[in-house]
Subunit: 206 residues, 2 copies
């Protein structure tokens, strides 16, 4: 029996305000069997965020310990706070053949790509910079200073799209999520994930 | 205004009897606006085949002239007959931004891949060797000798799947064609074809 491939690592990324959070919520709803990586962070919870669901909220001391013990797949300090992706959960799920979704900023996605170039890297973009700015202001969960920082880096961040496999414009979140689902469907037929079929056909018992 | 990408070159290939012909017929029906490359061949028409639709039926003298004038994107001699893909049609369509579908044997697909690595290379496989053999016999359009040759090369040909981008098992042609359509949908979001959007967003007029 030929070896079936590991689960698919799906990285949904893009600048703040592109709407990757909403898209990932829709994906989790449509693909409930899929694994979902929950990040650790040292930033304060926004209203409505639950520990273990939105993030694992940790102290700086705890996150630094995880970094020291190499327990994070990637980590970054962004606007004075640490963010990181716990390694064990992701690796375990993939090995068991389960797909794992990671919603992550651009810095983090690029770090993950170095370790997992075989993942599917999807870059979500806003339809326009104007719309991006409107979305960040509408969120109202960040301080004025953070908003200004996010806006000024967004345009520069867009250039990193070239490092990804796919670019999906998020005009309407439901539609954009549908496009991500199409990409995931197609990725299941990729030769790296389907070549075992050839072995099975060639070694079948007549 | 950023430059939009060329049309997509779609290469549907696989061993004889895999059913690529039926799948391509369905694709042409579903995507009538897509260009469809018609090959030249020196083999005799099978019953029902029309010149200019199934193939351009040519003399060996004519095809050798096309080869000499570098008018073929690829060509091969298979079981004593020449097959080739006229270059001009394909290049013109792609430049105009129109997708082009090429249905082709494995030898031909690999030659095209050398010139167009950015094409989408899809390998169609039968669900089993038993089924492949049944299909080739059922066709009854080839001589017994040709059938035996095709069967003995089919298993060896399957190994070339590794050179392709996607593998799609053809159990039911309608379903397999649906999977090809999913792949084509997803390919439209590939970064090489969508990066112009980033340029548009970054250079938009406020």
């Amino acid at each position: 029996m030929a070896k079936k491939p590991e689960g698919l690592l799906i990285v949904v990324s893009g600048p703040s305000g592109a709407g990757k959070g909403t898209i990932c919520e829709i994906l989790r709803e449509k693909l409930p069997e899929m694994g979902y990586s929950v990040s650790v962070t040292t930033r304060a919870p926004r209203s409505g965020e639950k520990d273990g669901s939105s993030y694992f909220f940790k102290s700086t001391y705890e996150v630094k310990g995880m970094i020291r013990r190499d327990e994070l797949l990637e980590y970054a300090e962004v606007y004075g706070n640490y963010y990181g992706t716990p390694k064990k959960y992701v690796l375990d799920q993939l090995r068991e053949g389960r797909d794992v979704l990671i919603e992550i900023d651009i810095q983090g996605a690029l770090q993950i790509k170095k370790r997992f170039p075989e993942g599917v890297f999807i870059f979500i973009v806003p339809p326009s910079l104007k719309e991006l700015s409107a979305r960040i202001y509408k969120r109202r969960t960040d301080s004025e200073e953070v908003i200004r920082k996010r806006l000024s880096s967004a345009a520069a961040e867009l250039e990193y799209a070239a490092e990804y496999d796919y670019i999906i414009v998020n005009d309407v979140a439901e539609k954009a999520a549908g496009k991500v689902l199409t990409v995931l469907d197609a990725e299941r037929y990729r030769v790296a994930r389907t070549y075992f079929i050839i072995d099975e056909i060639c070694h079948e018992k007549g």
